[in-house]
Amino acid sequence: MIHLEQWLVAAAYALACAHYLSVFRTAKTHGPLRSGQLGALAAALHLGYLCHLGFVMGRLPVTGVFAALTTCAWLFAVVYLILEWRLREASLGLFILPFILILHVLSNLFLDLDRQLPPVLLAEVVFEIHVIILLLAYSAFAISFIASLFYLLLAREIHQKSPGLFYRRLPSLAFFDTLSNRGVNIGLVFLTLGVAFGVYEGFKLAEQFLQWDLKYLAVTLTWVIYALHLLGRLALGWQGRRAAVISVLGFGTLLFSFIVVSASLSQVHHFR
């Protein structure tokens, strides 16, 4: 049942992706449905699935890398749909929805419901808060990442003076710049908060968790890169291309820390 649900959600996201793509290619928005509505439908299905998953697991589906991954995908979808609605600009969806789809499919493939967390972690609400806050931070960074990617694509087309599809469909460089910067600002706040909660919890369970770990290194690196992004903008007047490149870099590190480190390299910070 739960497997049927998770693939149904994936199918809904895929449908929304296809709609975003067709709108992007033809610029015809006069259909019976808007892409955002399809996206919202998929997110609603996703919420249902998450509730069911939480019920099966007996707690919020943020424990375990792959349960967290699908929750992250959902949070991301919600954040994006709110943004789309507020900014009245749907061109980003073309890149963001496939990204959500990939996260969700990854979660579908590797989700293991039988694996349990150490009971000492399960007793703490702080742990769940820690994870959710970090997931929100990741969503904000992901938005920033995609906005930066669009920035670079559009800047390239303008530089080459060959107005192509991106040039015609996308809003302005200034729009992506602002969006990317906001993503970084919000993401940085949540990342700092999330790490603080993590450290607090680590101190409480000191004997087990406060060991040196690759995950900590990766997170610190991510934090430093995004802090640099903020600092560069505020102090050195970085804008446009440079800021976009750093945002992309930061997100690369983040992906590395989230998926690769968590799944294979990390010894201690592992949901075991």
């Binding site: 559009l154 303008i158 530089h159 003076k161 060959s162 107005p163 040039y167 996308l170 809003p171 302005s172 460089l173 200034a174 729009f175 007047g237 970085w238 804008q239 446009g240 291309r241 440079r242």
Partner: protein
């Protein structure tokens, strides 16, 4: 051809400056011009650039306008006379007027409504001319259902075009390309500071375009060009750029070079200095001065976007292509509108309104008035001869209004005895008079929140006229014998076949009530004045009664129709309805000829008319009996009762017919043998 247009682009020596006022003042001549033009509706569109005269309508003789009697050349002459009469052109002037007919004329109408000029320019300001023309035509009664239909569709289309398409955006040029690229970089241009270097014609056009798009602050570099003065005159918002400590204040986001200047625009060091001044925020530099492109290839500077003329041309070309697509789309929309307009024009549906049927100009006007009045709760007075359908008008008003689901109460003031009328209309309380054994609601109360139709209002006794007036003014009634006033919300529609105005002057009808009722007056013309409706009405009734009497496929012979059209119709539509009902009942053949029409409809010629059309009494009797039998579904008792003869008589007659037929059959067989 129901629609045609004469049009021309105005030469410089014709100035239609004050023409609109002249036109309105001379509205009373309209009936004369209508005859001259041989059309029903006329719309004169005059703008600063063009002149268009739309003529529409099947005219009252049923002859197509622009028929053989009037050649285009003759019509042109009338047209020129008309224009001279309207003081639009002077006596000697003869602008070359082009004539366009049919669908193309309708296309021109829609284009005109969009402000799409024949030379390809799209100007929203030009669209106003048609609006103004229509307003005037409405005031002077020159427009009619066809023009109004066209106009409402055109309004709808122009709103759609304005909201859903890029039709009114300026046509592609250097300026639009610059604005587009700047928009792609800076987003909204309100916060974008622009510096123009040079002041040639291109610079002036660009400055104007930037000013119109509300593109932030505009500066020019002083002492570069001899045309500087023209530039600042063209766009007063332009300010000279100041230099402070060797840098410009403020820093420009967009710099456009129109003419060569002593500044080293291609030197990286200079540009880098510029970029540093603005903390490396993105900047757009458009170079239109050096052509061909600068000798050394531009090296990349972080966040600096540079465009040469050739690059700009590529953007313009793309815009032109997009523009062509937009125009094509609009053309398709217009073609769709024109097609649906013609469908509407050719359908008979537009001759129906509620239960009313009519294609005559007069009745179409009535339909339109009903549509326009219905939504308001205004009091309507309907005047027309007996049988013209006054109640149908009232019913149509009621049904087209927001009260359609509410009661519609009909009161024939002439049919109720005077002594009862008051209690009928306003109700009474118990004991108000002998026999008033309980409270009774009046018809006004029954009609509350709906409509009351007061037919034969001229028959209303004087005392009740006062009470009705009181209701119309205060919306209050008192039941007979009661002191309590009741607040009601009833729409009043009154009708009379008598000349109420004459009654007022004769002192038989209260003048204050008359003026209170006569907020809007709808005059229903008698049937003899709208001959073109007779065929349509006859057709309508024919279908109605044929279905009712189960005689499908009945048609009217041309000769019979002609008789109907020449008849005087004192009883108007009601009489026509009865004539057709009778004819259908009598008819044996699918085609209804003169034989089935009553004597009084046929003038003396019919009596001397063709013998072939007349049947012998015996034949008539046979046909009628057989038909009645069919009508009664083969029920002998019923048929005998309807025919007013005994069952046995019927039986005997039927047997006789059978015998005759079999004899005739045998005779035919003999012949064939």
């Amino acid at each position: 051809m129901p629609l045609r247009v004469y049009h021309t682009l105005l030469p410089a020596d014709i100035s239609p400056g004050q023409s609109h006022h002249t036109l309105a003042a001379k509205a009373e001549d309209w009936t004369v011009w209508r005859k001259e033009f041989n059309c029903e509706e006329l719309l004169l569109v005059v703008s600063s650039e063009r002149l268009e005269l739309y003529l529409a309508g099947e005219n009252s003789t049923g002859r197509a306008p622009h028929s053989a009697s009037q050649s285009p050349a003759q019509e042109q002459e009338i047209l020129l006379r008309f224009l001279r009469h309207q003081n639009l052109i002077a006596a000697g002037q003869r602008p070359a007027l082009q004539l366009t007919l049919g669908k193309e004329a309708a296309t021109r109408f829609f284009r005109s409504a969009l402000g799409w000029l024949p030379d390809g320019r799209c100007d929203y300001r030009q669209a106003g001319a048609l609006r103004q023309a229509h307003q005037q035509a409405q005031q002077t009664g020159m427009s009619g259902p066809i023009m109004n239909h066209l106009y409402t569709r055109a309004l709808w289309l122009s709103e759609k075009v304005r909201l859903d398409s890029a039709f009114y955006q300026p046509s592609p040029s250097v300026a639009t390309a610059i604005i587009e690229i700047a928009g792609k970089i800076f987003g909204e241009l309100q916060n974008c500071t622009t510096l123009l270097v040079g002041a040639n014609a291109e610079a002036q056009a660009t400055a104007r375009a930037l000013d119109e798009t509300q593109a932030g602050r505009l500066f020019y570099l002083p002492r570069i060009s001899p045309e500087e003065e023209q530039l600042t005159q063209a766009v007063p918002a332009l300010a000279p750029m100041h230099t402070a400590n060797g840098v410009w204040e403020p820093a420009a986001d967009l710099i456009v070079l129109f003419e060569t200047s002593p500044l080293p625009w291609h030197e990286p060091r200079f540009l880098q200095k510029l970029m540093q001044q603005r903390h490396n925020a993105p900047m757009l530099l458009v170079d239109l001065a050096s052509s061909p492109a600068p000798p050394q290839p531009w090296e990349k500077i972080y966040n600096l976007y540079r465009f040469a003329r050739a690059d700009l041309n590529r953007v313009t070309a793309q815009q032109a292509q997009a523009r062509a697509e937009v125009l094509q789309e609009i053309e398709d929309w217009i073609a769709g509108e024109v097609a649906s307009f013609y469908r509407w024009l050719q359908s008979t549906e537009r001759f129906h309104f509620g239960a009313m049927v009519g294609r005559s100009h007069a009745l179409q006007h009535v339909f339109e008035w009903i549509a326009r009045l219905a939504r308001t709760d205004i009091t309507v007075l309907i005047q027309g001869e007996s049988g013209t359908g006054k109640e149908l008008v009232a019913k149509a008003v009621h049904e087209a209004s927001g009260r359609a689901q509410r009661p519609f109460v009909v009161v024939n003031c002439g049919a109720i005895p005077e002594s009862l009328l008051e209690s009928e209309l306003f109700g009474h309380v118990r004991g108000a008079f002998t026999g008033a054994i309980q409270n009774k609601k009046g018809l006004f109360e029954e009609a509350n929140s709906g409509t009351i139709f007061l037919d034969e209002i001229g028959e209303l006794p004087a005392a009740l006229q006062v009470k009705l007036l009181r209701f119309l003014q205060e919306n209050e009634i008192k039941r007979v014998g009661s002191n309590q006033t009741l607040k009601l919300e009833v729409r009043v529609i009154a009708a009379s076949n008598r000349d109420l105005h004459g009654m007022v002057t004769a002192g038989k009808f209260r003048s204050d009530l008359y003026y209170r009722l006569n907020v809007v007056q709808i005059d229903l013309p008698p049937l003899r004045e709208r001959v073109e409706d007779i065929a349509l009405l006859a057709q309508h009734f024919l279908r109605k009664f044929a279905a009712k009497m189960r005689k499908p496929g009945r048609t009217l012979a041309p000769a019979a129709l002609q008789k109907l059209q020449t008849y005087d119709w004192p009883g108007n539509v009601r009489e026509l309805e009865n004539v057709i009902e009778r004819a259908v009942a009598l008819s044996l053949e699918p085609e209804i000829g003169l034989a089935e029409l009553p004597e009084n409809v046929l003038p003396e010629i019919a009596r001397a008319g063709s013998e072939a059309a007349r049947a012998s009494l015996k034949e008539m009797e046979k046909g009628y009996i057989l038909d009645t039998l069919k009508y009664c579904g083969g029920n002998y008792d019923e048929a005998a009762r309807v025919l007013g003869i005994g069952r046995t008589t019927l039986w005997r007659k039927l047997k006789e017919y059978q015998q005759n037929e079999s004899e005739a059959g045998r005779e035919e067989e003999k012949h064939e043998a």
